[in-house]
Each structure stands twice: as structure tokens, then as C-alpha cells.
């Protein structure tokens, strides 16, 4: 990541509507730095593909513009954008051999045969498919086809590569292997990658930064750690990792700390959403940030919780409790000496620090999932 200076790709207030009624991409502002691995993450239908297709040039924004290297690409047809693309269904040419598939972008550029062969060989090496030149795509496994598709998107040395759920059709083990492979290739070449997935774990593993999309809007752009630790919106908190949400009302604000009234209790939490006293709010807290406290007076936030069930997961225990009149509240505690005595139906004292509990925009109850 170079970080300095102008971003490589800029979405400027980009909106898109296919039918003139529903807005599929809504006022997106997004900067992508040169050399970074940026992932567009969102549930199906959130507009990820549309965002990518506008950058590739297969769709035009209804309003706003996209700049690459500081220049608007509005009037540039896809073939002049020099962007490598990997499609979910691979889109390999079935009537050409692997070698011919890889040579295609080079021949189109008028490269001579010798150089062409050399490049194709190098690209196959990169994806560890040496010796597959003469096979047809139909004779390859899904994972191999995906590697060919990646090699083909890279063989002409594009500065920007777009990948639309490239691993969606693979089984889990292969997917994990390919995630690692794509990461390795990205590191080797230093090319800018815009990656699309609906799988938050995949996004967390692979990305330098993640842009979370919801209903065509960018909810938050951040590196994986920040996204996990400091979600700015309840949707992000819910979408990334496991999360407990409590719905309440803001009773008081003191600096960064709000007092929120939830199910008969007052909880102190850190204020993220610009809320006022009297506003509805959603509190978000990670299951691993809740402690079971042996004695009271440890933290400001202390609640009595009723254990509904306990799942033993080896290195930690997972408790499902009811607290503040909210059921399905999850707590993860390390499996240390002394926890063996916990039983379903027990009442325990749980606690957390105000800084681990975030006041976010109110989420209508039962929304999502």
C-alpha cells in the first residue's frame, strides 16, 4: 500500500438504477488505493456486482463518476480500460485450449508469438499450472479452471484486477486454498485488486480493506481489524463476526459515554452514533468481551443473566443467556478452571466495560438474518 497522494480509483457520488425506479447503487463514494486488496462485502443483492461492472465499463452510472488515476473513465469502453476481470463462472473460452485462452489478451494487443508464449508460461507458473497449455477448460477441475481464469486476467499485466465472487462455486477446502493463493499472487505482483464476496470470513482473511455494502450504500470502509473492533453501524456489527445486540433508549450522555436504558437496566456504553437523549439506540457487544464475574463491583456494567444452555467447544465455552429481557445473548468464555460448575438454569453475574459496548444507530428489532 502506498497510501500517499491520490487514490488510484475513486467512486464519486456514484448511483445506478436499472429501471429508473429502484436505486441499486446509492450515492457511493469510495477511494481505492494503488496496490491494495479491497473487498466489496455485502449480502446478495446489495449492489456489489453492479459497482464492479461500472468500474469494468459494462454498466454506466446513472449519476456520478468513476475516476482511475485521476481521469474519468466515463467514455472509455471496457476494452480500453485495461482492467483484468475474473468472473464467478470463470468465463473461460470453451473452444480454446488453456494456452489459447491465456494468449487471447496478448494476441489482441498484437504481441508477437515468442513473447506471447513466454508470458503465457509465466502466467501458468504463477498459478502453478505448468504443462496445462494444451488442455481444454472442460478437462479441468473447478479449482484449476479458476486458476486459469485468474492467470488470464493477469497475463496482460493490468494494473487493476476485478474479481466477482471468484470462489463462490468451489467447495470449502478448495476455497480456503484459493484464498491463500490469490493473496500470494496479490503480494507477488503488487497489483490493485477489487474483490467481491458475500462471505465475511473470506473478506476478513483476504483484504487490506473492506467496504461493507448494504442496499447499494457503503456502510463502512476499514481494515478487517477496525471493522471487527470498531463497527460504526449496527449493520456492520451484525454482518462481521458474532455480535450481541441490545435495543434501548438513550437516557443520558456524558462526553463519550451514554447511559442506555435496556430491559429494566441502565448500561453504560461508548457513543458511536450521533444520538441524543431520548433517542432509540442499538448496543453492540462481542460475545468474547463479556466476562462472568465471580464477585460484583468489577465493572460499571453488571447484570444478572440466566443461563439457557452451555455448549462446550474445547478451548472455550459458549453460553446462551437471557439478560436485560433479551434472550439469545451469547457469551464466550475461555475454558479455565472453575467454569465446570456452570449449569443451565443458573443465574450468573456478567459484566463488560463501557468501551467494549458500542451505541450504534437503532436497528428495528428482528431486522435482518
Amino acid at each position: 500500500m502506498e497510501g500517499s497522494g491520490r487514490p488510484y480509483v475513486e467512486y464519486r457520488k456514484v448511483s445506478k438504477s436499472y429501471d429508473g425506479k429502484t436505486t441499486v447503487v446509492d450515492d457511493v463514494d469510495l477511494d481505492i488505493r494503488k496496490g491494495e486488496f479491497l473487498t466489496l462485502l455485502g449480502p446478495s443483492g446489495s449492489g456489489k456486482t453492479t459497482c464492479l461492472m461500472m468500474l469494468a465499463g459494462f454498466e454506466t452510472p446513472t449519476s456520478g463518476e468513476i475516476l482511475v488515476d485521476g481521469r474519468s473513465i466515463q467514455n472509455l469502453p471496457p476494452r480500453k480500460r485495461g482492467i483484468g476481470m475474473v468472473f464467478q463462472n470463470y468465463a473461460l473460452f470453451p473452444h480454446m485450449t488453456v494456452g489459447a485462452n491465456l494468449a487471447f489478451p496478448l494476441e489482441v494487443r498484437g504481441m508477437d508469438r515468442g513473447q506471447c508464449r513466454e508470458r503465457v508460461e509465466r502466467a501458468l507458473q504463477l498459478v502453478q499450472l505448468e504443462g496445462f497449455e494444451h488442455r481444454r477448460p472442460g478437462q479441468l477441475s473447478g479449482g484449476q479452471q479458476q486458476r486459469v481464469a485468474i492467470a488470464r486476467a493477469l497475463v496482460f499485466d493490468p494494473e487493476l484486477v476485478l474479481m466477482d465472487e471468484p470462489l463462490g462455486a468451489l467447495d470449502r477446502r478448495l476455497r480456503e486454498e484459493m484464498q491463500y493463493e490469490i493473496r500470494r499472487i496479490h503480494k507477488t505482483l503488487g497489483v490493485t485488486v477489487v474483490y467481491v464476496t458475500h462471505d465475511q470470513q473470506e473478506a476478513m482473511v483476504m483484504s487490506d480493506r473492506i467496504a461493507v455494502l448494504r442496499d447499494g450504500r457503503v456502510e463502512q470502509v476499514a481494515d478487517p481489524e477496525t471493522l471487527y473492533e470498531e463497527p460504526q453501524r449496527s449493520f456492520v456489527a451484525r454482518f462481521i463476526g458474532e455480535n450481541n445486540r441490545l435495543h434501548g433508549k438513550v437516557m443520558g450522555i456524558e462526553g463519550d459515554i451514554c447511559e442506555v436504558f435496556v430491559g429494566g437496566e441502565i448500561i453504560e456504553a461508548i457513543r458511536i452514533a450521533p444520538c441524543q437523549v431520548g433517542d432509540a439506540a442499538t448496543l453492540s457487544i462481542r460475545p468474547e468481551r463479556v466476562a462472568v464475574s465471580p464477585k460484583s463491583g468489577l465493572y460499571t456494567n453488571e447484570m444478572v443473566a440466566l443461563i439457557e444452555d452451555i455448549t462446550f467447544l474445547g478451548d472455550y465455552l459458549r453460553l446462551r443467556v437471557t439478560v436485560c429481557r433479551t434472550s439469545d445473548f451469547i457469551i464466550k468464555i475461555p475454558n479455565t478452571v472453575g467454569h465446570g460448575a456452570l449449569l443451565a438454569g443458573d443465574k450468573i453475574l456478567i459484566c463488560w466495560t463501557p468501551t467494549d459496548c458500542r451505541v450504534l444507530d437503532p436497528e428495528t428489532e428482528g431486522e435482518g438474518e
Binding site: A56, F58, P78, R79, R81, M85, A91, F93
Partner: protein, 276 residues
């Protein structure tokens, strides 16, 4: 259990009846065509089996009608006309039909259904009506009784076949392939030539074969529009039946049957290749 036994017995009877019925239908369809083949080897100028033929006398059989059509100038000209008009009309129909199918398969194209209907209409309009209409229209343009006129008319009749077969193959074509090619820097023509056309070729070729067959056995339009100079094989057969009843037209008919079988085999082969 008993019910099953009865149904199986019933099934056996009906199954045989069904097979018999199918055989009858096939005989009804094919016998008139098959009977032409031995008759075309008749040594006598009759349309019936002579006693000698039935006795399998070698003398009663001959190739004289085949020799006659090969040597006869009118038949050679008819064949040349048929091939020239057929091939030209096929090239036109294939090119135009493929272009039309490409356009009609684009979701952004306005009035798709209407345009498709219009292009397909020559297939459902009775030929006699098309032929009469074409005759008046082409006469005004001075195209009646010219080769060009017949080529255009046959191209119009052949285009719907191409539109239909190419549209069908395009339905199975992954548009992402074109996008992928474009993203790699290929212009629209290169994308079409190197990616799309090779993949929809089976549809294009079978459409072309149908278009050629449509022209090759077409007689109504030729009757209306063709002069002496534009006589095609079917037109020549027409005169043959009316003017001089000779087994020579049976020999021609056998040629046409062989042609037709070859066409069908090719189309079927293409269809299977495409299905893979």
C-alpha cells in the same frame, strides 16, 4: 398385486397395438418416397413396375434415366440454377438471420417481440400469398424473372430458419464470455469472430442448411417469379410431370432424397455436438 398383473397384461397388448400403429404411420409417411427409388431404375418409360422388374430381370433395370438427366441440357441448367440461387440465398439468409438473431437476443433492443414476429412471418404465411405479393412487388422493381429477384425472394423465405436456430443457440451462450473478451482488450468484431461465432456456429450452420433446403425444394415462388432462364430443379420437375411423363424426374427425385437425408444427418450431428 393382482391389479399390477392385470395392468401388465393390458400394458403388453396396448404396447403391441401402439407399436403396430407407429409402424403404420411410418409406412404411410415413407412408402411413397421409398417406392420412387426402385422405379427410377425402370428400363421402360413408365411410372409402374414392369413384369421384368418384378422378376428381377437385369434387363428390366437400367440407369438410362440417370444418364438422361446428366446429359440433358435443361436438367443441367436447372441444377446449376438451383445451386446458384440456393447458395446465394443461403449466404444472404445466414448473414442477415444471424445478425438479426444477435440483435433480437439483446435485452436492450426495443420492440423485440414485434421484430421477431415480423422476421418469422414468411414461415407461417402461406407461400402462395408470399409468392403472389413478391411477384407484384418485384415486378415493379424490375426484379421479376431475374436471378437476383429469386435469390432475394428465397433469402426472405430462408431467413426465419436462421433466426430461429441462431436464437436458440444464443440462449445457451454465456454473455460473460463476450464481456471477458472485451475486458481483455478485444474489439466487438474480434469478440464476435473469435469467441461468439465459433460457439454459436452449430446454430448458424443448421440454420443455413434449412435455408438452403427451403430454397432448393421451393417451387411456388419460382413459378410466379422465374422465367425460362431461372428454372430450378423443382420447377423443371413440375414441367416434367405436366408435359412429358418420364421416369427421369424419378431419378431427380432420388437425388433430392439423398440430398435431404444428408442434410438431416448433418443437422442432427450438429445438434448433438452442440448439446455436449
Amino acid at each position: 398385486m393382482t391389479t399390477i398383473t392385470t395392468t401388465t397384461a393390458g400394458h403388453g397388448f396396448w404396447h403391441i397395438a401402439y407399436l403396430g400403429f407407429c409402424a403404420l404411420v411410418f409406412a404411410f409417411l415413407i412408402a411413397p418416397i421409398l417406392v420412387i427409388v426402385p422405379l427410377s431404375f425402370n428400363a421402360e418409360p413408365y411410372f409402374t413396375f414392369t413384369e421384368g422388374m418384378l422378376r428381377l430381370d437385369a434387363d428390366a433395370w437400367s440407369l438410362r434415366w440417370y444418364r438422361q438427366i446428366v446429359e440433358d441440357e435443361e436438367w443441367s441448367r436447372a441444377l446449376a440454377n438451383s445451386l446458384f440461387i440456393g447458395v446465394s440465398a443461403t449466404v444472404l439468409a445466414t448473414a442477415l438471420g444471424t445478425l438479426a438473431a444477435l440483435g433480437l437476443s439483446n435485452p436492450a433492443m426495443p420492440a423485440r417481440r414485434f421484430a421477431t414476429g415480423l422476421l418469422i412471418s414468411p414461415m407461417v404465411t402461406p407461400v402462395i400469398i408470399s409468392a403472389a405479393g413478391m411477384f407484384f412487388f418485384y415486378s415493379n422493381l424490375g426484379l421479376a424473372q431475374t436471378h437476383l429477384g429469386l435469390i432475394l425472394a428465397h433469402a426472405a423465405l430462408g431467413t426465419p430458419f436462421v433466426v430461429i436456430t441462431v436464437t436458440a443457440t444464443l440462449a445457451g451462450y454465456d454473455q460473460n464470455l463476450s464481456r471477458a473478451a472485451a475486458s481483455m482488450g478485444a474489439g466487438p468484431l474480434t469478440v464476435f469472430r473469435r469467441v461468439q461465432l465459433p460457439l454459436i456456429a452449430p446454430g448458424v450452420v443448421s440454420g443455413g442448411i434449412f435455408a438452403f433446403a427451403a430454397s432448393f425444394d421451393e417451387v411456388v415462388v419460382v413459378l410466379f417469379m422465374g422465367g425460362i432462364e431461372q428454372r430450378t430443379i423443382p420447377r423443371q420437375m413440375w414441367s416434367g410431370i405436366r408435359e412429358e411423363i418420364s421416369p427421369a424426374i424419378l431419378a431427380v427425385a432420388v437425388f433430392l432424397i439423398v440430398f435431404a437425408v444428408l442434410f438431416l444427418l448433418t443437422v442432427e450431428w450438429l445438434r448433438r455436438r452442440n448439446a455436449r
